[in-house]
């Protein structure tokens, strides 16, 4: 059985409080446990702290952490991930080398843990930590599973991850805003650019065709989106379109805007579900602590 445990479903910043009890206040972290007991973690948002505490109950901890991108809400929990501090634990960290700033993950984590931000330095972490730079499309084998990254649109280089194990398939979009045409319909370049966008969408659709479960970024509603264009996040309608095109079994809306209360998330879900012409995909609102079993 593949178990997908949603450890953090908020975008941007943790939001604890009475209005976020139901869906949770932690930022992005997903724990995947494969049939054979391998632990794969996607992103180190604040949700990774509690996961680390639980993993510490059985030493040594062996796990692989895949980072979609290095924006704060996806790495801010890493310094609080206790298994990193304990000798004998084996932790593989995977992600993109940042070719613009010429930084690898180790450098980024080391900077995140400089004394002015945190009392322990990266060089003082005692676990066996290995840093691995991923290439798009290059599958990584973790026990019985493979994890394949695909580059998807966001203001920084950003991966979506597909995890496959014993016929079960899961995909996480990371943060994702479907690419927009930068030209106006009257511009000469419009149709060429649209062709490239369509090609890009097709690559993503083919990549996740028929996956069992997708957890996807839909920070904004379609009403909000026009004023949030280019911010790097998607909408429920965009996610529904992806689910339809790729025949996705189930899709969980995530990266909830930090401004949303539980009640608002419920209302948005009801609105979205009231739309006609939904594909046969089962849709849910991602909830912290929810375990999806495949």
């Amino acid at each position: 059985m593949m178990i997908i445990n949603l450890r953090g479903v908020r975008g941007s910043i943790p939001v604890p409080g009475k209005d976020t009890v139901k869906y949770g206040g932690n930022t992005t972290c997903i724990e995947i446990t494969t049939d054979e007991g391998d632990t794969i973690i996607i992103d180190g948002g604040s949700g990774i702290r509690q996961l680390g505490n639980e993993l510490m109950q059985q030493l040594p901890v062996n796990c692989s952490i895949f980072i979609t991108h290095t924006h704060w809400d996806h790495i801010q929990g890493l310094p609080f991930f206790i298994p990193l501090f304990v000798p004998g634990n084996n932790i593989d960290i995977y992600g993109s080398f940042d070719p613009v700033y010429m930084k690898d993950l180790k450098t980024i984590l080391a900077q995140q843990m400089e004394y002015c931000y945190f009392p322990v330095r990266e060089s003082e972490l005692n676990a066996n930590i290995r840093y691995n730079n991923l290439k798009e499309g290059e599958a990584i084998r973790i026990g019985s599973a493979t994890v394949t990254p695909i580059l998807i649109n966001h203001p920084v280089l950003n991966f979506g991850y597909k995890i496959e194990s014993n016929g079960k398939r899961f995909f996480f979009t990371g943060d994702y805003e479907p690419p927009l045409n930068i030209y106006q319909p009257e511009d000469e370049e419009y149709s060429e650019y649209q062709r490239l966008i369509n090609q890009q969408k097709q690559i993503l659709t083919d990549f996740i065709q028929g996956v069992d479960v997708v957890v996807a970024d839909c920070q904004y509603t379609r009403e909000e989106y026009p004023s949030k264009k280019g911010w790097g996040h998607g909408t429920h309608d965009g996610c529904i379109e992806i689910a339809r095109d790729a025949n996705v079994g189930a899709l969980y809306f995530t990266h909830h805007d930090p401004m949303r209360t539980d009640q608002q998330l419920d209302e948005i879900y009801r609105d979205v579900m009231a739309r006609g012409d939904l594909p046969p995909t089962r849709f849910y609102t991602a909830m912290e602590g929810l375990k999806i079993e495949l």
Partner: protein, 300 residues
């Protein structure tokens, strides 16, 4: 063999201007509402920039699974922000010729230039130069020797003789250039910097990085001078460690460099070059990273 001033100007004229694209990219991207369309247009109107952006995006560093074939394609594929950053980096790191037949080792050239850039910036920090001015120190260090690349590219045969003479006589390159060509690389380097409309202090720092008696040098010029000699000094110290047979001779050379610093530079620095290495522990790592980037954007 010596060249005249007109030939010098002719060489400078042949160097592509990248300043306008860079200025426009910087101007565009300072606005948070930077139009992607306008940015693409600026890049596309500069063929060199276009090629370099595409080369970098298609390089192993990005690890893309499909080849990106146009600027628009790259924006769709890796996003406008990434392309904006790539364009800024590429535009500012290289409008220089990539290869030369003179035998000037470009990897050595860049690693020395980067070392001088990094050291100059560290010196600036140490001297309390304001954060927003420190970038000039890095750029000054990075560009101080660009004249060598122009000579090597445009007069490869003559420059090969210059390189050989410097090696055979054991004299600094700028001295061999002066003797054989009549001009040294700091002069032509400053002319290119003028053409690129770099700040006047930066131009002076390139022009003066070998002058020993210049009066009223700016802090930037003094820093570039000191950083250049510090980089040579550190290279000799490393060499002394590696080559046991010649250790004493190499150490002596290093000591001479330290001793021969012009008084103005010594005064500004406040301590001997030997002290520099104490706060440069990760210099090699910084240089390696930046070097890899420059190799890529040069595309060779």
């Amino acid at each position: 063999m010596s060249i005249n001033h007109d030939q010098l100007i002719d060489m400078v004229d042949k160097i592509p201007t990248f300043q306008e694209s860079v200025h426009r990219i910087l101007a565009l991207t300072t606005s948070p509402d930077c139009s992607a369309k306008d940015l693409v247009q600026v890049i596309e109107h500069d063929p060199i920039l276009t090629i370099k952006v595409l080369k970098l995006v298609n390089s192993a560093y990005f690890g893309l699974s499909q080849e990106v074939t146009s600027v628009n394609h790259s924006v769709v594929y890796v996003g406008i922000n990434t392309i904006k950053n790539v364009a800024i980096s590429v535009a500012t790191t290289g409008a220089l010729p990539k290869t030369n037949k003179a035998g000037l080792n470009m990897n050595h050239f860049w690693s020395h230039s980067l070392a001088v850039g990094v050291i100059a910036k560290l010196l600036a920090e140490n001297k309390g130069v304001k954060k927003n001015e420190q970038a000039n120190y890095f750029v000054g260090g990075l560009l101080h020797d660009i004249g060598k690349v122009l000579f090597a590219h445009f007069i490869p045969t003559d420059y090969q003789h210059v390189l050989q003479k410097a090696e055979a006589d054991g004299i600094p390159l700028h001295q061999a250039e002066k003797e054989l060509l009549g001009f040294d690389h700091s002069e032509i380097g400053a002319m290119v910097a003028e053409k690129w409309q770099l700040p006047s202090e930066l131009i002076s720092s390139i022009r003066n990085h070998h002058l020993t008696e210049e009066k009223d040098q700016s802090s930037l010029s003094l820093a570039i001078y000191a950083a250049n000699q510090a980089a040579h000094y550190l290279a000799l110290m490393t060499q002394a460690l590696l080559d046991e047979n010649d250790t004493e001779k190499t150490l002596l050379k290093a000591a001479i460099i330290d001793n021969d610093l012009p008084q103005s530079v010594k005064d500004w620095l406040g301590w001997p070059l030997a002290e520099v290495s104490k706060w440069l522990s990760n210099l090699d790592e910084e240089i390696d990273k930046a070097l890899a980037f420059i190799d890529l954007s040069d595309g060779e």
